[in-house]
């Protein structure tokens, strides 16, 4: 087990700068999730950690050890690939034992480690099959087994669930977390799925365009997004945004949308950042919306009923807007509602940075 420290990592592919000076620290034993949209550089970062690519600049430390230029086999890591990358010519047992054999582990220890891993993952009856005789989920478990059997100090997961169907994905997600709790190995997990990110992570890193936009415990990142990008990326349905400007109102401030609707701003939460006339983007999560008299006018254009709750789609101040409503609340197409916001995020309109005090 080891902590991971990455400093000012830079990686180019030809002209394209994929990582633009990424720094991050993962404490020992933590389950870190790298999340971000396609092309944000999260997979590249993982491959740099694995040693499959070498950084152009910057350093990577596992604990005290500088591994920046080391070969993968010198790093003491395991990796689960998106496509599982099982050795097609080897049986499940041989797949699991492959890394140990390369390390000249005594046969008895290999046998023991393989049995232990296979028991943990329920691979027992599959041990003598070839990968092509396995289902997708079974292959995924073998890939996991291959990673854990070596007891390396760092596990790397490259979108390991994206080839599974939805139901299986939910289950394996839980299994992975359980496994981590049991083994306690530092893990780095790459995904573009925010549900996986939220549910698995001890510490979450949101990447965008080659930089870490925000990091921290997932709930905190969710509750206090540092940028408009993070706010929009996490949460489903995504946060609603509309433009407004600030006006003084008494001792405090209010945000005034284009259509003149004004919302009071809790000055304490945005201390120091507020001043009259500032152009802002207002962000409201669909779950923070209540139907209430005297609120913002919300024109409903369509309603998605999910059973326990419904999502009402429409516009506020000309911007598209989604609100979660209780299933019991009668909302239908073309309704005009008035809604109030339980929680409101403000971002600088130009930079997208949150106005909230750090």
């Amino acid at each position: 087990m080891a902590s991971v420290t990455v400093a000012k990592l830079l990686k180019r592919f030809g002209q394209t700068e994929v990582l633009k000076g990424v720094s991050l620290a993962i404490p020992e034993g933590a389950f870190a999730v790298l999340v971000g949209p396609s092309g944000c550089g999260k997979s590249t970062l993982l491959r740099l950690l694995a040693g499959l690519e070498i950084a152009d600049q910057g350093t990577i430390h596992f604990g005290e050890r500088d591994v920046t230029r080391l070969e993968p086999r010198e790093r003491d890591i395991s990796m689960v690939f998106q496509s599982y990358a099982l050795y097609p010519h080897l049986t499940v047992r041989e797949n699991l034992a492959f890394g140990l054999k390369l390390r000249k582990t005594p046969a008895k220890d290999i046998e023991k480690a393989v049995l232990e891993a296979s028991e943990m993952l329920g691979l027992g009856p599959l041990l003598d099959r070839l990968p092509k005789a396995l289902s997708g989920g079974q292959r995924q478990r073998v890939a996991m087994g291959r990673a854990i059997v070596r007891r390396s100090s760092l596990f790397l997961f490259d979108e390991p669930l994206s080839n599974l169907d939805a139901a299986l994905r939910a289950q394996v997600r839980v299994d992975i977390r359980k496994l981590h709790d049991r083994l306690g190995t530092t893990s780095v997990y790459v995904t573009h799925d925010q549900v996986e990110a939220m549910t698995l992570a001890d510490v979450l890193f949101v990447l965008n365009k080659g930089v870490v936009e925000q990091s921290g415990p997932p709930l905190e990142v969710f509750a206090r997004p540092a940028t408009r990008f993070v706010a929009g990326f996490l949460g489903s349905p995504a946060m609603n945004f509309f433009d407004a400007h600030l006006e003084s109102k008494g001792a405090g401030f209010q945000a005034v949308a284009k259509d003149g609707f004004a919302m009071a701003v809790d000055a304490e939460r945005f201390a120091g950042e507020l001043k009259a006339g500032r152009e802002v983007t207002v962000g409201v999560r669909p779950h923070d919306i209540h139907v209430a008299e005297g609120g913002a006018p919300f024109q409903v254009s369509i309603v998605e009923a999910l059973g326990a709750e419904s999502y009402a789609h429409g516009t506020i101040a000309g911007a598209p807007f989604v609100a979660r409503v209780e299933a019991s609340t009668p909302v239908k197409k073309n309704d005009r509602l008035e809604v109030s916001f339980a929680e409101m995020h403000l971002f600088d309109k130009q930079t997208g940075v949150s106005l909230r005090a750090p």
Partner: protein, 735 residues
Amino acid sequence: MKSTRALLSLLLLSVLTLLGSPAFAEPIRLWHGYRGSEEKALEAILKGWKGEPVETLAVPYDAYLTKLAAAIPAGQGPDVYIDSHERLGELRARKIVGPVGDALEPGVFSPPALDAVSDAGVVWALPLSQKCLALYLNTDLVKEPPATLEDLADLIGKLPRGTYPVVYDVQHVYGIAALFSSFGGRLLDEHDGYGFSGPAAEQTLLFARDLIEHHVDPESADGALVTNLFKSGHAAYAVSGPWLAADLGDKAAVKWRVALLPKLRATGQPMRPLLTVESVMLSPQGALKPEARALAKLLASAEAAKIRAQYGPTPTARIDVAAADEGAPVQVFALQARTAIPMSSSPTMHAVWDPADRAIAKFIRHSATAEDALAEGKHRFDDVHRPLPARASPTPALLVAGVLALGLAFQWVKRSREEHWGAQLKQSWSSYRYVLHAVLAVGLLVIIPLVIGATTSLTAGNDENLRYVGFANFINILTARGGPLLASGSFYLVLLVTLLWTACNIVLHVGIGLALALLLSRPTLRFRAVYRVLLIVPWAVPSYVTALAWRGMFQREYGAITGLILGVNRLFGTSVEPIDWFARFSTAFVANLTTNVWLGFPFMMVVTMGALTGVPDDVLEAARVDGATRWQRLRLVTLPIIRPTLAPAVTLGAIWTFNMFNVIYLVSGGDPDGTTDILVSEAYRWAFTRENQYGYAAAYAVLIFLMLFLTTRSRGTKSDEKKIAATPPAPAEVV
């Protein structure tokens, strides 16, 4: 009605044509193998012919005998033809030559020449001209012929640098026979036994090697070298035939004359060269026609001899035609011919050349003592010339075939009794129609030749001697013809060489192909496409062209490799000897191997490149993460994954190599001494250069087929079993 009449008239017409044809006078057909001035001479002679029209046909020398043998029995051949006398034995055996009868003018032909074309008092051909070796003098360097051949050694040191006392081909039987006769030897004894062995032959070999090793005679003097060295003034004397005179002509740079071959001091006996007599022969049909006999007589007449003398220096076989001036080449050759030994016309003579040539080469190379080399030559001769196996009763084979046929018929009847059989047959009738052409083509081109080949292997002898011998050929081959199992040329030794050949080739083909494919599959390599095309080129060139090119490069005197060595010597002042590639097994084998590797690796490279695209990148990355080094990734991941794709290609390559006739035949030609021959080239030799023992060659072919068939089959089933064991049925349950 109309069509019937047309048919009838057509029938009538053809009958008339057939009946009428003998009524028309047929021209006399004359075949010859002449070119150039000799052909012109023949035309001039035919101008004096007053009889029936003559139809002449020039047939290439290579195909002469085959064409005669094919055409004459069919009545399409010549009435009169011109050929060398030593073919008479073969021609008589094939019954395509008749006695000359009244065409012979008594008392006009040189006795040795007449002797050469007669047998037991019957004259089978009319001698035209005679060819034998004589001594050429470069009169710029020497004035008189030497008293004895040994005296030539005195010339060493007295001649200009780089000039040899004599250039004389003693590496081949034809040339060395003159020495051999002086020692009292005969190539064939009176019972057609092999004569090139015993003390006389040993002395001859020693004498010949001394000539070379004392630099009296250059090493590896063959026909071309004799001509070149003498023509360029680099030899005081040359031992050669009339063809050298024709080549020198009037405008030669050197002044020359011809003299009789000298004596040997060692024996006191003159050297007597082999005599070949060009003769007019009559086909059996021609021998019955007076006109044809008259034509033959004309061709051998004194007038014809005079005409011929105007066109070339070959001496006539007639003694009544006044020779040219004293000392003229024609006259000397005529004199030499009188003491020459007519080459035996027995068909057995064919079998003498190769073993004797090999024995000479082996001894001169110091690869064996004279005794051993000659004994091996005799053994080779006996091998080739062994008596035909006894006729076997075909009954057991017919019985087996009959039982098999019965079994098949029974099966067929049983099937036809099954219910729905007829209906099913009718239903699939159209499918049978679709595959019919393929079945016919495969049957015609593959199955029937296979069956004929297999049947041939149960026979021995040719033509009317053809006989069924059961498995005698196989037994003979598998018992190494009664000799030691690993004797030179035995099946087992050749098999070992073949296996070594195949193994070395496959290792190198796969190794080089794999290495290049791995190199070319690196995405970082620049100009990949260019390299790929360049590396495939050897494959695209026809293999015999490549083989000939490599043969040329390995040639000792003028080859590219010798050139390279000489270049290195010049550059660095070293004195590396040029390698005589085909003098030793190891170097000859390497030469063959190099050529075939050049031919074979592109195929493996292309197959491997294709297979490598099937190795997923992430699996290799997984192996890297698992801790595999580059070598371990290749050995433990890449190779096992591409193996199933590569395996059929390797099997195919092994079969090709096992049967790679072109390279063996064209590059080393089995040299030295047939040691680099593989089974296929050995089979070829039995079929085409050792008295056409087709049955024996077919037995070789059947053995090759069986070996390849069984090996590839057993390999196939083994890997199939493994696959089945490793792949349980796909699971139904999903996690």
